[in-house]
């Protein structure tokens, strides 16, 4: 009886979307290349923002996949394939890392021989902060990402054809195993690429802070793409408002979680007032002050007040707008974390934003679209082989 009901019908995605994504990507790359010619250091910093944004969305999406398996959630099963495809962003991360890995000494002060000579604190970190170990750690994270993508997403892709329900058991175990490994990976990414820009500063919660933002970035991407696909008939007609409500509720929860982590980090450093630690925040005061205050509103107050209402979470247009907003808010966050170090190096310490910086959103959005379209080609946009697929569609509040 149930086999007569068609839960999902595959429609092929329009190629013009790929073209649009490609144009954005090319434009972004062109801007980036031109910026290297104009101001080398600034271009590298923007490339770091790009890289960390890609890590956020890609690795964050892989985490969301694992999270679903670990919690045995039903409602998110219809969206899992989209999340898996978005996680495919991890494959272009090595590409983006290459220009950075070849020029670590231009970017990072802990490779500056004069500083290593005079500053004993920085020199003391050399066993960890040196080119070789840095590259090894980067490669390790690549290996982890690719390996777990293969087992988590790969098994799900295969399951579409075999429709073998026993696949879930091992995937769930591997997901549980992935969670702590993911924690370490994302901590390494945040500490190596962002925290070490100011090597004398440190914060034990930094990995968690970056994690919170990453989940938001990934979740908002998945939400936006899911709504767009649904509204254009690419997903099952059995998906309801209730499913998107849950995505909105999850975004809300992580907005609050991010704010909690951000506030904890700030308040503890402000309270103890130790110059070693406050330095990082002081660099984001002065002419960066309004941007810092703006972050609170952009990434917390406004999404909070919107998503707390039932209306926002049930209205697809509002959810789309909020998803885009949160995605850009994470970009804002990364920009705020990374660029002040550049402006200090150039002794201006005032925020800069011009065509240089535009390369980042163009490249990231371009890659999201292009990678999605390429991976989604010839694949189902929903995990039809998953035994919980039907139950997931039946979910209601």
């Amino acid at each position: 009886m149930s086999s007569d009901i068609i839960l999902y019908e595959k429609k092929s995605l329009p190629s013009k979307v790929t073209i649009i994504g490609g144009i954005l990507l090319v434009l972004g790359v062109v801007l980036s290349v031109l910026s290297f010619g104009a101001d080398n250091l600034r271009a590298y910093y923007n490339l770091i923002v790009t890289l960390t944004m890609l890590y956020s969305v890609g690795l964050g999406a892989l985490f969301l996949v694992a999270l679903e398996y670990v919690t045995s959630a039903d409602w998110s099963v219809p969206f899992r394939r989209i999340t898996e495809i978005v996680a495919g962003l991890i494959f272009i991360i090595p590409l983006v890392s290459i220009p950075l890995l070849l020029n670590l000494d231009t970017i990072f002060v802990w490779l500056n021989p004069e500083l290593l000579h005079t500053d004993s604190y920085v020199a003391g970190k050399a066993p960890y902060l040196n080119t070789n170990f840095f590259i090894i750690r980067t490669l390790l994270v690549f290996a982890i990402m690719f390996g777990f993508y293969y087992v988590l997403a790969g098994r799900s892709f295969k399951q579409d054809k075999t429709k073998d329900p026993s696949v879930n058991k091992l995937t769930s175990r591997l997901s549980a195993f992935f969670i702590p490994i993911f924690a370490i990976s994302i901590t390494l990414v945040s500490m190596d690429w962002v925290m070490s820009l100011e090597p004398k500063w440190f914060s034990t919660i930094f990995g968690v802070y970056y994690f919170a933002g990453s989940v938001l970035a990934a979740l908002s991407t998945v939400t936006f793409i899911s709504i767009v696909l649904y509204q254009n008939g690419y997903l099952s007609k059995y998906i309801k408002e209730d499913h998107f409500y849950n995505l909105g509720a999850l975004m809300f929860a992580f907005v609050v979680f991010w704010a909690y982590i951000a506030f904890s980090q700030f308040m503890l450093i402000w309270y103890a007032n130790i110059p070693d630690e406050t330095a990082w925040y002081m660099h984001r005061a002065g002419s960066w002050y309004y941007i810092s205050i703006g972050l609170i509103f952009v990434k917390f107050a406004i999404p909070f007040l919107i998503l707390v209402t039932r209306y926002a979470k049930s209205n697809l247009l509002v959810l789309k707008i909020v998803s885009v907003w949160i995605f850009l808010a994470h970009y804002y966050d990364l920009y705020w974390m990374i660029m002040p170090d550049y402006t200090i190096k150039t002794a201006s310490n005032s925020p800069v934003y011009s065509w240089f910086e535009l390369s980042t959103p163009l490249i990231v959005v371009g890659f999201v679209i292009v990678v999605f379209m390429l991976i989604a080609k010839n694949k189902n946009l929903m995990p039809v082989g998953d035994p919980k697929f039907k139950k997931g569609l039946e979910f209601h509040l």
Partner: protein
């Protein structure tokens, strides 16, 4: 026949599906004053009963905002206006430090006031005299049956029609519920005598208890132990020392900070002359400083020009003039020595002016002497 007033007609159902269907039917039939009782909340029943969405969500949100604002006002007033204290250099209005309490009070207000509002205003609880209490109907619906009541004050209520309607939609155990006459006449308003007396009594007990606790009990043993301590307070008598003083003198040989012993005895100005040299240059600053000190401390006896004809007018023996040749021929160290140790009637000024100031005075005295004995070459 007792003159009892009918409250409602009741019927029981036996499954969640049945009661949901029944809710839809009773709405279709046009009844407005009906109610449904279930031992646990049945999903979808609000929709079937066409109930409006509860406003408690908005109320809770507003209450939380009120809580947060009250908290920030409290903290602003106490920490920044009423009694600001410098606590490890934190600003008087330190928002990061105020956030935790803002959050806590927001949650507290929303939860407690929200629940109290729900119970007292929405439900009008406590209400132990509702006609449905202690009926077989209530015993059934509080355990395992689902019930519906159609109240007698519904506009289209007719007891037989209501009963037949209930059985038509599948209800069993159709019954009637009556008001208890004494409960009907008992009007429970907020100005209930018992309640008011209770409140007043509570107020008296609480305030009296607090007063006794804070103003009387805290002064009894053992709570008052810390008020009477054996430590010695400044300027108070004590039995601890034989002389009855709390204040003690410094131990013999105690010196003040920065104290340097002056090695030349009072009568050996010669030695002082030989070894003491003025370390200061006669700069404008030094001379001005010396002038200030001289005018303050030395001029009462020596006069502003050092002549000895001071404004004391001989009430105190006039000192010999500083303009004399004898003094002019003294070295700086001699003058310094006299200021330090005193001479004849002049006391020691060592405690009044410190060493630097003494040398500055010396410089000034020299300037005075030169001024009184000016030669034509000095003008060039």
């Amino acid at each position: 026949m007792e003159n009892r007033i009918l409250h409602s007609v009741t019927g029981l159902f036996h499954s969640a599906d049945e009661i949901t269907q029944a809710a839809k039917e009773v709405n279709k039939a046009g009844y407005k004053k009906f109610d449904i009782h279930t031992p646990y909340p049945v999903h979808g029943l609000e929709k079937a009963m066409k109930l409006k969405r509860s406003t408690l969500g908005y109320i809770a949100f507003i209450l939380s905002a009120i809580g947060a604002i009250s908290a920030i006002l409290l903290m602003w007033w106490t920490m920044s206006v009423s009694y600001p204290l410098n606590i490890s250099g934190k600003p008087f209005f330190s928002l990061p430090a105020f956030v935790p309490i803002m959050f806590e009070l927001a949650v507290l207000t929303a939860s407690v006031v929200g629940v109290v509002l729900m119970l007292t205003i929405f439900f009008r609880f406590p209400n132990h005299s509702h006609p449905l209490h202690d009926t077989e109907y209530m015993k059934a619906v509080s355990s395992d049956k689902y019930g519906m009541v159609i109240e007698s004050d519904d506009p289209q209520f007719d007891i037989d029609k209501a009963k037949s309607f209930l059985s038509s939609i599948g209800a069993t155990d159709i019954g009637e519920v009556y008001w208890d006459n004494n409960e009907l006449t008992a009007k429970k308003t907020i100005f209930d005598k018992k309640f008011i007396f209770g409140l007043v009594g509570l107020a008296i007990i609480v305030s009296g208890g607090t007063y006794w606790l804070l103003n009387k009990a805290m002064f009894k043993e053992p709570f008052n132990w810390m008020m009477y301590q054996q430590k010695l307070s400044a300027q108070s008598p004590t039995t601890f020392f034989k002389d009855g003083f709390s204040m003690r003198e410094p131990v013999e040989g105690t010196v003040a900070r920065g104290y340097m012993p002056y090695p030349y005895p009072a009568d050996s100005a010669v030695l002082a002359e030989k070894y003491l040299v003025n370390p200061l240059e006669p700069t404008v600053a030094n001379l001005n400083a010396g002038k200030a000190k001289f005018n303050t401390f030395c001029s009462p006896c020596h006069d502003y020009h050092g002549t000895g004809q001071s404004r004391l007018n001989g009430q105190f023996p006039n000192p010999p003039s500083l303009q004399s040749d004898r003094v002019r021929n003294w070295k700086d160290g001699h003058i310094f020595h006299i200021i330090t140790m005193g001479q004849n009637t002049m006391p020691s000024y060592a405690k009044t002016v410190n060493e630097t100031e003494r040398w500055q005075i010396v410089l000034y005295v020299r300037a005075l002497e030169r001024a009184m004995n000016a030669k034509l070459e000095d003008l060039k």
